[in-house]
Amino acid sequence: MLDNKETKIIKIFIYIVCILLTVLSIFPFWIMIVNATRSTNQIQQHAVSLIPSTYLMNNVKIITEKGSFNAMVGFKNSIIISGCSTLCATYFSTLTAYAIVVYDWKLKNAFFSFVMAIMMIPAQVTMIGFYQMVYKIGMTNNLLMLIIPSVAAPSMVFFMRQYMIPSLPLEIVQAARIDGAKEFFTFNVIALPIMKPAIATQAIFTFVSSWNNLFTPMVLLTKSDKYTMPIMVSLLKGDIYKTEYGSIYLGLTLTVLPLIIVYLFLAKYIVAGVALGSVKG
């Protein structure tokens, strides 16, 4: 009886903390979305309001006419870079993992150890050399320079290998060989579909991290028609928008809303994917 009462109190306490954290997660974004519909004047009087106002179109007008923030351009470039990077990373990581799992070659174990060793190298420490190299060949404003590097994604190779070992029986590959299938064909037609669940999880994370990346694009892209979404966002801190509070919030909302919508649709898989990554890693 006593134990029951104690459990109840603990439970109530748990819910209070969880609800507080939920408010903390949502509140900043709620203020942002509401303020995107309010005028600068209203925000100056009371910066916090839970009820949307009617100045959304006015803010849209300000943000499209003033300054260099251009959500459409940023959106387009970010979609191109993130989309292509995700395709490259998932396809070639699966291919590399396939080479490690299916074939017996002399340097196989050495190669796998090498993949593990380079997994932790952060992009920042190689940036100076990377920039100099790209500058020398005159490709600084070329989106390809942000896409091609994703072909070599060591941590994804590691993940794909872990997933492939139990889920791709080598007998299938051998059966395909007996039927006369070429190796590359076997990979594309038989192995890739089996790897679909792993590819889907990894695709989400690659897409999101590529979409959110600020450092590399900020170093490489100098022309405003090549800017990605995070660079566009960083422009909102510029002087032009300093006094246009409503339009700053609108700009932020434009970059966040697509992410939140996609997240809410895929949340179950994303949360499962986060857990999977650590257990396998």
């Binding site: 748990i14 903390v17 969880c18 954290l21 939920t22 997660s25 900043p28 974004f29 942002m32 303020n35 910066a47 916090v48 070639f92 291919l95 080479a99 299916v102 074939y103 017996d104 070659w105 002399k106 340097l107 196989k108 190669f111 380079i118 932790m120 952060p122 920042q124 420490v125 190689t126 940036m127 100076i128 050399g129 990377f130 100099q132 190299m133 500058y135 020398k136 091609i148 590097p149 072909v151 070599a152 959110n212 600020l214 450092f215 170093v219 995070p230 966002v233 960083s234 801190k237 700053i248 919030y249 932020l252 966040v256 997240y263 949340a267 949360v271 986060v274 650590s278 257990v279 890693g281």
Partner: protein, 334 residues
């Protein structure tokens, strides 16, 4: 047996062929830049658009010495470490607490899935956006935080506060944002780790009358060591490269370079002012070495001693078995 080896040999070349794209791209876009960055650290390369570099003649380590003795770099290392440690500790404590609640069968929390989704949400939002959003929330003179403080009577002076004029507040907000963005991720990982522990261990602990606290410290914690190491190492590497939030939250890194991290230092050296690529290169390499040393140290400290001992034992037994087999074979031969 021979036939199988033949087949393997026949297809071995595809192993090499299929890793070509990975290897080529790695060599060009990662390996070469690392070498290049290292090399730049030993040269006089500076100035926008300049690519001609010459090895330093007088003192080959001049850039490294310069960076290491630079007050700004020292401050940026201090800031980076401080802000990482102060966000990591509350983040892990909160995550451990939430995970222990969510995995405890005795007080099953309804809506666990919902809470996980909400707690993880800040992590997928663009860090650049989050930084500017918080800059606006803490805005002066009339940001939402100021508004709330006045409304709830928390601000006695009645005057709006310019938060980012204070070094402590600027760093505090960075720390808060980092914790806020990452505790959900850490929680989900720890929950996955706890769920991976065999339920029988918990059951027998319950039968033995262990309290919640005892169960947590003596069963849960030791069993999620690997996950904790994973979280620690990834967070450390991420933390030492903190860039987006400190760069965009306050203009010019705030008062006394309050939010200048090493990554911001490297960026500012290389891509603004006098474009000192050589010093940025040297600073990058210093950070690289620090990260490698710290990660290796963590792996060494957190390595599973029991597992190492078990492996040694297994090896010994294997050797003995092999010796036995050999002896038997020899005996047979006799």
């Amino acid at each position: 047996m021979k036939n199988k080896n033949n087949i393997n040999a026949k297809y071995a070349k595809f192993g090499y062929i299929f890793v070509i794209p990975f290897v080529v791209v790695f060599l060009i876009f990662s390996f070469w830049p690392i070498l290049y960055t290292t090399a730049v650290g030993f040269t006089d390369l500076k100035g926008l658009g300049n690519t001609n570099m010459h090895l330093l003649k007088d003192d080959i380590f001049a850039n490294f010495k310069n960076v290491l003795s630079s007050a700004t770099f020292q401050v940026s290392i201090k800031n980076t470490v401080k802000m990482w440690v102060l966000n990591f500790i509350p983040q892990v404590l909160l995550a451990l607490l939430l995970a222990s609640w969510f995995t405890d069968k005795r007080s099953k929390v309804a809506g666990e899935g919902f809470f996980k989704i909400i707690f993880y949400m800040p992590n997928i939002i663009t860090a650049a956006t989050v930084a500017i959003l918080f800059a606006s929330l803490f805005g002066y003179p009339m940001g939402p935080v100021n508004d709330l403080m006045t409304r709830f009577g928390l601000n006695r002076s009645g005057e709006p506060i310019n938060f980012f004029l204070s070094k402590g507040v600027a760093q505090g907000v960075v720390i808060f944002i980092q914790t806020w963005m990452w505790y959900g991720y850490t929680t989900i990982n720890i929950i996955a780790g706890v769920n991976g522990i065999s339920p029988e261990i918990f059951e027998s602990a319950e039968v033995d009358g262990a309290t919640r606290t005892q169960t947590f410290f003596q069963i849960t914690l030791p069993n999620i060591k690997t996950i904790m190491l994973f979280i620690l190492v990834t967070s450390l590497i991420g933390g030492l490269n903190m860039f987006d939030i400190p760069k965009l939250l306050v203009t010019n890194s705030g008062p006394d370079n309050a939010t200048k991290t090493t990554s911001v230092f490297i960026y500012d050296q290389a891509f603004s002012g006098s474009y000192l690529y050589n010093r940025a290169g040297a600073a990058s390499m210093i950070m690289f070495v620090i990260i490698v040393i710290l990660s290796a140290l963590l792996f060494y400290l957190m390595r599973d001693k029991d597992e190492v001992a078990l492996k040694k034992l297994a090896k010994k037994q294997e050797k003995m078995r092999a010796a036995e087999l050999k002896a038997q074979e020899l005996l047979k031969g006799v």
